[in-house]
């Protein structure tokens, strides 16, 4: 682009890639300077992941040139790319599930000491290296992936939606690690759908639209508008806004759809009680591992509580299998799409899967009716299903949309969403917020865990904050700004001063984007946020 060919660390010019009839990349160019954090932006399906895979040799381009430090290169495999200093953390976890972490590290020749160092830096201290990858939660897997890449000290590190599955505290650590690369001689290519992250760590941004590079922008205060405009090919202001919430018209009048009393499970979930009413979206806010995973698993019928009560529509319910929960009207948009999708099957079969699970629906399928229902859901969620005969070929964001579409297609009474907008681009996120509001308007009840705190104010009527396995606070949607939620999530009293770093970050971020950023968990751990210890160690007295 504008930069001269010399002095560039990595340069890709006019890269293209077609899959059958689907054009993934048509003319993508990217130039990365040494010492910069370079954002790669674009809507779902724009080709970001494909470009990263090409740069690291996981996918072979149809045409285009790639030069590293001015010398042209053909990269044949990720291993070769790694030896040449190009390493990527891909969008989906790339650890082999049936090997333990140590064996996984050996596969990529990762030096152990730096790996441990980065793991600690990233906020995961006591990882047992002999645990099977498949047993670890998604967030931990992502961090392990990142630490592994950082330990290799590549010239160019590519992070494809690294932060998408992470709760606020871990995200902050990742952003710190990324920022620490600025100004050195190594660079980072950073992909995220969260503009706030781009604003806080990136120097420049290359924007892709439909497989083409449509612009390179210096990231400065106010450049977001420009980036969005380039991404979407339309003015940001034209994006539909989330409709205002109608006043809370529920509470005492209706029987709650779900009412949870003293739910507990293992060491993580201690004692959670709340009510979810028809017509409302209830937010759940928590840092990593505060029991939210167990709560959702129990409500979805995947796990049984060790104690506590669950009432659905006023009568006691006990789920032995997800099918029981579904029959009771509780459907679950899972945290990890790899758990929810049939990767080798079509978009259609994935969406229609819940329709045929009951024995009396095992017979002939009414294909026409099914197509209509599926098509309606596909267009409602704006799924780009061009590569839809196998879901694994869809872009990450589009796969995520399929997991939501599956339940929307059948009509929703109660939807349990665990980070449903993970990896979804900003325009579609708006659509999903609208969708959740529409569902609520139509009488559905929605429980929404989100790691992107600003979603709470946008869509939730109220939010509960879980800390150490207990509900520690309830906040009404209108008051649920990020600072308040964070304070609550770290279980700080509202009159307590925020840890310095939290405050500092808040100010800094406000000047950039009028939004707040998660606090530095490292500092919080020394300051008043010391309570943010894992729940097992948390003093039960500090929680209500």
């Amino acid at each position: 682009m504008t930069a001269t060919a010399t002095g560039l660390l990595l340069e890709a010019t006019d890269v293209s890639k077609t899959y059958g009839a689907v054009v993934a990349l048509k003319a993508a160019s990217l130039a990365v300077r040494p010492g910069e954090v370079h954002a790669l932006m674009g809507a779902n399906g724009a080709g970001k992941s494909t470009l990263v895979k090409i740069l690291t040799g996981a996918v072979h381009p149809d045409s285009g040139r790639i030069a590293v430090r001015g010398r042209e290169r053909t990269v044949h495999s990720p291993g070769e790319a790694r030896r040449g200093g190009l390493v990527s953390v891909y969008q989906e976890p790339s650890l082999i599930p049936d090997l333990d972490i140590r064996a996984n590290l050996r596969l990529t020749d990762t030096p152990l000491e730096p790996f441990r160092h980065w793991l600690t830096q990233l906020g995961i201290e006591n990882l047992d290296l002999s645990s099977m990858a498949r047993r670890l939660p998604l967030a931990t897997l992502r961090i392990v992936d990142l630490a592994r890449a950082l330990a290799i000290e590549p010239d160019v590190l590519m992070l494809d939606e690294m932060t998408a599955a992470l709760p606020a505290n871990l995200t902050q650590r990742v952003l710190e690690a990324v920022a620490s690369h600025r100004g050195g001689d190594r660079s980072i290519i950073f992909i995220s759908h969260r503009l706030i992250e781009i604003a806080s760590v990136c120097d420049r941004a290359t924007v892709l639209r439909e497989g083409e590079t449509v612009g390179v922008v210096d990231v400065t205060p106010g450049s977001e508008e420009r980036i969005i405009e380039l991404m979407l090919g339309q003015i940001a202001g034209e994006m539909p806004a989330v409709a205002g919430r109608t006043a809370a018209h529920r509470a005492s009048v209706t029987t709650p759809r779900i009412s949870v009393r003293g739910l507990a499970s293992g060491t993580k979930l201690q004692d959670v009680s709340f009510e979810l009413h028809p017509g409302e979206v209830l937010g759940v806010v928590a840092l990593e591992g505060q029991g939210q995973d167990e709560l959702f698993d129990i409500l979805a019928g995947s796990q049984r509580p060790s104690s506590g009560e669950l009432l659905v529509d006023g009568s006691a319910a006990s789920f032995r299998h997800p099918a029981d929960a579904i029959r009771a009207g509780l459907v679950y948009v899972a945290a990890d799409r790899a758990e929810a999708l049939l990767m080798q099957r079509s978009v259609r079969e994935n969406i229609a899967l819940p329709f045929t699970t009951r024995v009396r629906r095992w017979g002939l399928i009414d294909l026409r009716a099914e197509r209509e229902t599926v098509d309606a859901a596909v267009s409602r969620l704006q799924i780009d299903a061009r590569a839809g005969n196998e879901v694994r070929r869809l872009s990450g964001g589009n796969q995520q949309k399929v997991t939501i579409a599956r339940w929307v297609a059948g009509g929703v009474r109660t939807m349990l969403c665990f980070d449903p907008t993970r990896g979804i681009d900003i325009r579609t996120k708006q659509q999903i917020y609208l969708l959740l509001r529409d569902l609520a308007e139509a009488g559905a009840a929605v429980l929404l865990y989100t790691s992107e705190l600003k979603e709470v104010q946008l869509v939730c009527d109220r939010a509960i904050v879980i800390f150490g396995g207990r509900v520690v606070e309830e906040i009404s949607g209108t008051d649920a700004d990020e600072a308040t939620l964070l304070r609550a999530a770290y279980h700080l009293r509202s009159d307590a001063a925020m840890p310095e770093a939290v405050a500092a970050e808040t100010v800094a971020a406000e000047t950039v984007a009028a939004e707040t950023v998660a606090p530095r968990a490292s500092d919080a751990a020394n300051g008043p946020g010391a309570e943010a210890a894992p729940p097992e160690q948390a003093d039960p007295e500090t929680s209500r």
């Binding site: 995947s302 997800p322 929810a340 002939l364 070929r393």
Partner: protein, 329 residues
């Protein structure tokens, strides 16, 4: 996509890979045609309507047994009990030929016994989560043992493959069209329809593709698996009856030699042993390929050991080709 771009694309290796993966039946038909051509070259004049009839007749029971493998492999399982169950069915029917209910009674008892074995296998796999390989292997020993007991019991009464089974298993219309197609065609239509158009078929693929996702969507896998292994056992019994009619033999190990070819036919036909991918159409072609291949090796007059080596090598090559192709993203 305009027509010329399509035509260009047609020629690339990538497209061929895709074709082999998405529509395996097309290249398989090609392979079958090549084999037929080779056999015609090796022995000019051999390919005739009558020869085709013989090939089809021999392929039908193999295709049914391979169908058992296809269905179970779609869920990530396998059914090694088909040989024992198929043999048992033919054997039981032959021993009951002089019973008051005659042939009908024999067949009904045989199918019921098979279904019972399948039910137990299904419970083992679906409810107690025993690996299908182990469960079906164990079940085949159980069935074999019981067949032997039965044999000792029935040693007094006269036994023989009933005429009706011989007719359906080995006769042909006008020396060309085998009558076993009367069983095979309806069965095939049922399976194809079942896999493509029914909720049950969808669940087989779903369980094989991602059991966790299937469960989270409300599938109770045990229900699906129990029904599956019953279906598979009944199909194995049907194949056993046809083989018994074809060979005019009834023995407790009659079907044993068809077990591994059945697995091979399913794999060659494009069904992934890992589950979630494949179909019965490819399996039928796979069975035809193996039958023609056997005929070819016989025509070439190769000694038996060489034949086995060639046979095995071809299966490995085709299976390896699939692995390469399907692992490409």
């Amino acid at each position: 996509m305009n027509a010329s771009a399509r035509a260009n694309e047609w020629l690339t290796a990538v497209t061929w890979r895709r074709l082999l993966r998405d529509r395996p039946i097309v290249p398989l038909m090609g392979l079958l045609a090549i084999l037929v051509l080779v056999i015609e070259l090796a022995d000019p004049g051999i390919v005739s309507p009558e020869w085709t009839g013989v090939i089809v007749r021999a392929s039908v029971p193999l295709a049914i047994l391979a169908g058992c493998q296809t269905l179970t492999m779609l869920t990530g399982g396998i059914d090694l009990s088909v040989a024992a169950i198929g043999s048992m069915a033919g054997f039981v029917t032959a021993t009951l030929v002089h019973s008051p209910g005659g042939v009908a009674e024999g067949i009904i008892v045989a199918l019921a016994a098979a279904a019972l074995a399948g039910l137990l296998t299904g419970i083992g796999v679906g409810v107690f989560r025993v690996h299908p390989l182990i469960m079906t292997l164990g079940m085949s020993f159980v069935v074999l043992g019981l067949s032997n007991v039965w044999q000792l019991q029935m040693v007094q009464t006269g036994a023989g493959v009933p005429d009706s089974l011989r007719w359906i298993g080995s006769s042909t219309l006008a020396q060309v069209v085998p009558y076993n197609l009367l069983v095979f065609i309806p069965l095939t239509l049922l399976i194809l329809l079942g896999l493509r158009r029914t909720g049950y078929g969808r669940l087989l693929y779903a369980i094989g593709d991602n059991p966790v996702a299937a469960r989270l969507s409300g599938t109770r896998a045990w229900q699906v698996l129990i029904v599956l292994y019953v279906i598979s056992a009944v199909m194995a019994a049907i194949a056993g009856l046809l083989i018994s009619g074809l060979t005019n033999t009834a023995s407790v190990s009659l079907v044993d030699t068809s077990l591994l070819p059945a697995v091979a036919a399913a794999v060659i036909g494009g069904t992934s042993i890992l589950g979630g991918r494949g179909g019965f159409g490819g399996t039928i072609v796979g069975a035809l390929i193996l039958t023609v291949l056997t005929a070819l090796l016989t025509v070439l007059g190769l000694p038996e050991p060489t034949r086995q080596v060639v046979f095995g090598s071809i299966i490995v090559v085709v299976a390896a080709a699939y692995t390469r192709v399907t692992s490409e993203s």
